[in-house]
Symmetry: C2
Subunit: 374 residues, 2 copies
Amino acid sequence: MNFKIDKTDGNARACTLQTAHSTIQTPIFMPVGTLGAVKSLDAIDLKEILDAKIILANTYHLYLRPTSKVVREFGGLHGFSKFDRSFLTDSGGFQAFSLSKISKPDENGIKFKSHIDGSMHYFTPKSVLDTQYDLSSDIMMILDDLVALPATKERIDLSIKRTINWAKIACEYHKSNKQKSVGIDQNIFGIIQGGTDYNARKLCAEALCEMEFDGLAIGGLSVGESNEEMYDTVEALMPFIDKNRPRYLMGVGTPEDLVQNVERGVDMFDCVMPTRNARNGTLFTSFGKINIKSAAFIKDDNKIDPECDCYTCSNFSRGYLNHLYKARELTFFRLASLHNLHYYLNLVKQMREAIMQGKFKEFKREFYAKRGMI
Amino acid sequence: MNFKIDKTDGNARACTLQTAHSTIQTPIFMPVGTLGAVKSLDAIDLKEILDAKIILANTYHLYLRPTSKVVREFGGLHGFSKFDRSFLTDSGGFQAFSLSKISKPDENGIKFKSHIDGSMHYFTPKSVLDTQYDLSSDIMMILDDLVALPATKERIDLSIKRTINWAKIACEYHKSNKQKSVGIDQNIFGIIQGGTDYNARKLCAEALCEMEFDGLAIGGLSVGESNEEMYDTVEALMPFIDKNRPRYLMGVGTPEDLVQNVERGVDMFDCVMPTRNARNGTLFTSFGKINIKSAAFIKDDNKIDPECDCYTCSNFSRGYLNHLYKARELTFFRLASLHNLHYYLNLVKQMREAIMQGKFKEFKREFYAKRGMI
């Protein structure tokens, strides 16, 4: 993977990543396409309407259904979904932890019960890479040992010990595979754990930065801690993450979270928030969130956001969307998802432009001012 | 409404209808957009992907939600949904009959209980036109007295007596409204009832053809009778329906039903079958129906129908669709609906081409041959 820093503005960075499938300008937000489809959208929507350069797919889900072996038969995720730009796949560890009724990490991996049919499975640092080779993702995430917050010091220490150990195994396994021409176009990112314990985070970051990862992710945030704890942890951690590699904050977050963390030096984000909120009728606008089901919108012929030029805002009114939502029409989900993802992708694009112009502070001030938040 | 017969081939006809919003070449199939949206699709899908010239919306549903008064505020259905071609709206009578828990027709109209909130409502021949003026549809259907089949002779006689009486009231009401500049761009179709009783059908058809309707519909079929009874009733009835007006067979049907009834002289159709079947995983192809959830498609990289050039077939494989269906991904519903509607719209287009070339018989033979049905 080629990576270069185009411009910095304070700690905020505008970078360019090049994978085998696309050129990605950061800061970037990755829409979540859990099962090889962003919910309610298809590959044409993502490319032609949203112009997304990279999306995320979930290894846990695809491993269970249709299975990574089936995806491999179609030429990996690109051939299966027909989204021929970049895919990042997680390791599956987070879902084994959050979705499975039984989830037991041990020294060698994570044992879990399928949420679909109750069958037992075991993820190891090597097995999750094998699955991701089948998926043929452009960026693979390593298996990490996640802990819910708040957590005891003992549990956090165990988590980073395991995570570092698994990272070593993964890094060496990928290196040896590439020598055998397996996964040669696939990149691998390490995941820094440590909860909100700055010392544990630092230890983990330093250990992982010594390994040959193509990028580094901050995992285990946005799992119960306050916003301020998250921002402070990222800020404290950032000096210990190699600046010459992309930095990815996993599973984050709100528009405010994106602005705060870009300011602290994060390059990449993913979150189900824009698509999940869309399906619940919560739509993002430049002046804050609205809930489209409000009776105030019944006769409203305006677009969702007066400043938005997305597919949905270019064509449909708040009144029509209010009606579709209340009638539970399937049409609503796609229109709302397109709007919310456009909002997120436009937000990171605006942040990049601001960084390129050395005006990130001004951008941030205006972002909050419009929301009546300063 | 301008109407002309472009060509006949046996009893089959190719005609052209001109409304204030679009030119419609027949035979035509109208996708059903119950609530002002064809389920899972939007106006851009209908215009740019499917090139539908006319769709149907349901008066009963829109009257209850968001209410026709709200739709009127947006400039009727065209302004509300942004589908700026033609709309046909039914009278609401069929849904008052089929969806409402309590539905009581009397001499003056139909009393029914809302399936949404249980409130009581009363549809009359005039009130359903008032609602359709608010909806601003291009073709309005009159209130008719529908009966479930099989029905007694007494019930059928009562039905056609009421239907003829209500038709007179509607026709005169619309005429007087147009003189007051209400609904001047809106057309009105009569509905012929009479079950499978040829004599009742003939009586009803003759009475309605004497009135100033812009078109004539056959109602009360596809409600429990056999296919052969339906085809025979249409065939027996057709000589008594004015050939110089469009002839619309309501709520029909399967691809075979369309071919059989075009052969008998029907110009227009509507049915939820392509969209409802799509949502259940049943997809139409030139060689018959398939169910995409079949395990046979898990690793199938072919398109749904080798002869199809629809959006879905141009982009996605059976294997991916099988996966999306089984995972209940929202994306599936739109892709399947686009395919099935393309199939129906392409079928009527092919029939028109065959009629224009005087080759309807050959078309029909090939249609059945491909399905292994002759």
